[in-house]
């Protein structure tokens, strides 16, 4: 697969993403585990509504017989114990036990997949982006990307999560509940999508200045498309084809970029920032914050601090030519 052939596909995905004004609601699930959780949720909402209405009736009915004067009004005592025991203890106990028991099957069905997943990916949290690692057929070779997770539809995917710095929480509402990324600890988790599509997720554990912009996208596609994508990611970079590209490649290697970023197949081995080997193929930049277009890419390289204040990537004050070249080069890395 060459870059140019995949391009319309990713453009289409980008358009879909931009058109996606629907909120990422977990009450509109797109996977079997999320569906189970949403069903549980609707039940809880229904029960809560009934209880609320009943209690409000019990609260408002006695207000219909009021008196106006308080001073020296008569006082009487006693009674009400039966109401307390039945309404306050017995009925709530029955409801709560039922809810508890009802939640157990959902718990066991959503905490682990029914069968051992064939694929396992690794997700590491960084302030404020996600590192995603895929295993390949060759055990010594892994593919690393960032902020975008591709999965085949209808397949249980194992996910191992950890954090490289502070606590984060991985959350794609339409597909699954949350799992925390805790430094010094690896948690296992699983994902599944039953409908193809692009699902937006976000870090859910406050992790510092740009916690609001630690987004992630999950792209669920057919098995064939997924295999294509993975093959594309496995490929090493293609040598720069235009002069602009090779100027960009030089600027990347010479400048500070290579200290923080890796481009597989070149001398750039930095690990502080996202792997950029196939950055051109991604839908978004800076953890879901901006769409991956030439203009935004250039804006980001020119002034990352202005776009996302506080990120580890410095504003490097590049001249216009190297800026353009860099952007062209990175865009060509599909």
């Amino acid at each position: 697969m060459t870059g140019s052939r995949r391009r319309p596909g990713s453009m289409l995905l980008l358009l879909m993403l931009a058109a996606c004004v629907q909120a990422p609601s977990f009450m509109r699930p797109a996977s079997e585990p999320a569906h189970r959780i949403a069903v549980l949720g609707w039940w809880l909402i229904a029960i809560a509504t009934i209880v609320f209405v009943v209690v409000m009736v019990l609260l408002l009915v006695p207000l219909m017989h009021r008196r106006q004067e308080i001073a020296h009004a008569d006082v009487h005592g006693g009674g009400g114990e039966r109401m307390i025991l039945i309404g306050g203890a017995l009925i709530p106990a029955i409801i709560l036990i039922a809810v508890f028991l009802f939640s157990l099957p959902t718990l066991s069905a959503t905490i682990t997949p029914s069968s051992r997943p064939r694929y396992t990916i690794e997700v590491s949290g960084h302030q404020w982006w996600w590192e995603v690692t895929y295993h390949t057929a060759d055990p010594s070779f892994r593919v690393t990307t960032a902020n975008e997770i591709h999965i085949p539809v209808g397949e249980d995917i194992g996910v191992r999560v950890n954090s490289r710095d502070v606590a984060h929480s991985f959350w794609v509402p339409e597909l699954q509940g949350k799992i925390d990324l805790i430094p010094g600890q690896t948690n296992t988790f699983w994902l599944r999508a039953d409908k193809p599509g692009i699902y937006r997720g976000q870090c859910a554990e406050y992790c510092g200045m740009q916690h609001a912009h630690m987004g992630v996208v999950v792209v669920a596609q057919s098995a064939a498309q997924y295999a294509d994508w993975l093959r594309g990611q496995e490929a090493p970079v293609t040598a720069p084809r235009t002069t602009d590209d090779s100027l960009g490649a030089q600027a990347f290697q010479r400048g500070a970029c290579s200290l923080c970023h890796t481009i597989r197949g070149t001398d750039a081995h930095g690990v502080l920032g996202p792997d950029l080997t196939h950055v051109g193929s991604r839908l978004t930049l800076a953890a879901g914050m901006i769409p991956n277009t030439r203009g935004h890419l250039q804006g980001w390289i020119a002034n990352a601090q202005g776009v996302k204040p506080g990120v580890a990537m410095p504003t490097l004050y590049l001249d216009a030519t190297s800026l353009q070249a860099l952007a062209a080069y990175l865009e060509s890395l599909r």
């Binding site: 809560a48 109401m83 306050g88």
Partner: protein, 627 residues
């Protein structure tokens, strides 16, 4: 009798001078100071919220920088939970306990004063961070390792760790004082089965504080050690544990939730019966429910951590425990309902607030049950649903009873009634604002909006809910300001209040409004739960409020036996003294010294603290008990 009153007045009066104000140990003055100070913190926390809601009113607003927003939401939570919600209840307790118990002061009046001064100074300490532009910015539960020096190098989180540590001193000694008071300084005959429910709830809370606060203190000390002494308690890279913070914090934090709502429920249990013209239904059940909530509160902390990758069995256990704790709350709820059902209620502003409280209590309780269901909580946790839940709980179950309680006891405290007409407006504006502002947050949560984000993109579909939330929040704020206005206005021009304007049943209403400094001319002898309704309820034995010991030789009150409250001996209460203020000031110096790491000053302050403590403990009345 006049001469008795004159002699008591001479013994107990605090002179109207600066010295008098600074040295007073009168529980009523301290209680009112607590209330006013806590309300100032409420307003400050509210302003912080108002700024945040302005940022979130529409998508991609950037007029607050992420750094400013993060400081604001952290300070909002910290201020409201630690410097408003608990101290405001301490204000009620300090003011009301001796009056409800028929005593002349708390067990340790000087400790009481110290507890107030340290509360005030810890708040001032925390807010000096504002002037340095380094307010805490890691959230009110400040998860490690984001709080470690590596990720938070400025003073922000030192203010948090030391400020909270300072505050726990205030809270702990206050709690000890309440426990001591409950078990020893009650009117003869005020046996344990006659205690007003408000006393039960604050007593439960005080025990919870004593057991819960050490976990917070330890967490704060560890954090500060990590940050400034190079230790690694919470640093996984060096063998520490990030989860240790979460456990310590929530072992403290969940009981704390009950600490800041139980006494407010206790307020409701005092107000509702008065306006229903009958004693509370199921007194014993309510008392038991209160105590068991306090106990069970220690067994549910893990429900804040369902997404941290714990084993399913332990999650199931804590899910079950979290559901169990609903039952005592439901018992209290049905006790209020049963009280209403057995009566023809009178509706006045205090009662309106209690009715509103019950409605919000139910919503907050039901959303709480949803979060106890593990798989659903994986979706709910850390979203705006939780923000909605916590506000229904804290505003619904703390602020509504507090404001209702102030409408109820303001006449006692000041001798003037709050304006009833303004009060009704006040209630409806707050109640509507509350629901318009906070109910949509549930929906924002269901729509996938995480909490603690300083902005959101227009494409996320959260615009409308946030707009409505912001507008509702401003309406709510107007409601709170109406209350403040009512207090200011009525303090000056309100109708004069009689001793017992609501014809209520408990001892505090047997005094004049406001009560004399010595509270009771005659120490009452109590024979029923509702001493002021005995003419109508006709219990087998009648209390004696006008005849009994007057104890005019010095500051004296009766010490009674813990359970049945038989008179044991006389207690000599301490005189006014500057000592609590001095000790608190020395502590303030100590905490600033630690903050700026001026070790010489820290050492000097520590030594002075030792000296002051010795002075404090020096016996003054060897033949009497000491306050």
């Amino acid at each position: 009798m006049a001469s008795i009153a004159a002699r008591l007045d001479e013994e107990w009066r605090t002179p109207h001078s600066l010295y008098g104000e600074l040295s007073t140990v009168d529980h009523k003055k301290i209680g009112k100071r607590y209330l006013v100070t806590a309300f100032v913190f409420l307003i400050i926390g509210g302003l912080e919220a108002a700024l945040m809601r302005a940022q979130l009113i529409g998508p991609n607003e950037r007029w607050l920088s992420p750094d400013q927003y993060n400081q604001l939401f952290t300070m909002h939570g910290t201020t409201m939970i630690f410097w408003y919600a608990s101290p405001v209840l301490s204000g009620f307790s300090n003011y009301l306990w001796p009056l409800m118990l028929g005593s002349r002061d708390m067990a340790f009046p000087r400790v009481n004063a110290l507890s107030y001064w340290t509360f005030l100074f810890s708040g001032l300490f925390l807010y000096t961070s504002l002037f340095l532009g380094q307010m805490p910015d890691r959230g009110w539960f400040a998860y490690a390792p984001l709080t470690e020096l590596q990720y938070s190098p400025a003073l922000n989180m030192d203010f948090y760790a030391l400020g909270l540590l300072f505050l726990t001193i205030s809270t702990t000694i206050g709690a000890i004082n309440f426990v001591a008071t409950a078990f020893s300084v009650r009117a003869p005959g005020m046996s344990i089965n006659r205690l007003p429910i408000f006393i039960w709830s604050t007593l439960t809370t005080s025990f919870s504080m004593i057991f819960a606060l050490p976990a917070l203190s330890v967490a704060c000390v560890y954090l500060w050690f990590d940050r400034r002494l190079g230790m690694h308690f919470f640093d996984p890279a060096q063998g520490g544990s990030a989860m240790l913070w979460q456990h310590l914090f929530w072992v403290f934090g969940h009981p704390w939730v009950y600490i800041i709502v139980l006494p407010a429920m206790g307020i409701a249990s005092m107000v509702i019966p008065t306006f229903c013209r009958r004693p509370i239904a199921g007194y014993t059940y309510v008392a038991l429910a209160t105590v068991s909530t306090g106990v069970l509160g220690f067994g549910v902390w893990v429900h804040h951590m369902f997404a941290t990758g714990l084993p399913p069995l332990s999650m199931t256990f804590f899910s079950g425990a979290s559901m169990t704790i609903v039952i005592p709350s439901a018992v209290s709820l049905f006790a209020w309902l049963a009280t209403l059902w057995g009566s023809k209620p009178v509706i006045r502003t205090p009662m309106l607030f209690m009715l509103g409280f019950i409605c919000l209590f139910v919503i907050g309780g039901l959303s709480g049950v949803a979060t106890a269901v593990v798989p659903y909580d994986w979706q709910l946790t850390d979203t705006y649903f939780i923000v909605a839940h916590i506000h229904y709980v804290l505003i619904g179950i703390n602020l509504f009873p507090v404001i209702g309680g102030l409408y109820y006891w303001f006449p006692k405290m000041t001798g003037r009634m709050l304006d009833e007409r303004l009060g009704r407006w006040n209630f409806w504006v707050m109640f509507i604002g509350m629901n318009v502002g906070f109910f949509p947050m549930h929906i924002a949560g269901l729509l996938g909006m995480p909490r603690r984000i300083y902005t959101y993109d227009g494409s996320m579909g959260w615009n409308t809910v946030n707009l409505v939330t912001s507008l509702g929040a401003y309406l709510f704020a107007i409601g709170v300001l109406m209350f403040v206005w009512n207090v200011i206005k009525s303090r000056v021009r309100g109708a004069i209040a009689a001793g017992n304007p609501w014809d209520a049943s408990t001892l505090e209403w047997s005094t004049s409004s406001p009560p004399p400094e010595y509270n009771f001319e005659v120490i009452p002898t109590v024979r029923s739960r509702d001493p002021l309704w005995e003419d109508r309820l006709e219990p087998p034995e009648q209390s004696s409020l006008r005849e009994g010991p007057t104890l005019t030789d010095g500051r004296l009150t009766v010490q009674s036996a813990p359970l049945d409250a038989d008179r044991v001996r006389l207690l000599h209460m301490s005189e006014d003294t500057l000592l609590p203020l001095i000790v608190a000031l020395v502590m303030l110096a100590l905490f600033y010294a630690l903050l700026f790491r001026i070790w010489g000053l820290a050492l000097a302050a520590a030594v002075m603290l030792g000296v002051a403590t010795a002075w404090w403990l020096w016996p003054q009345h060897p033949e009497h008990g000491e306050g």
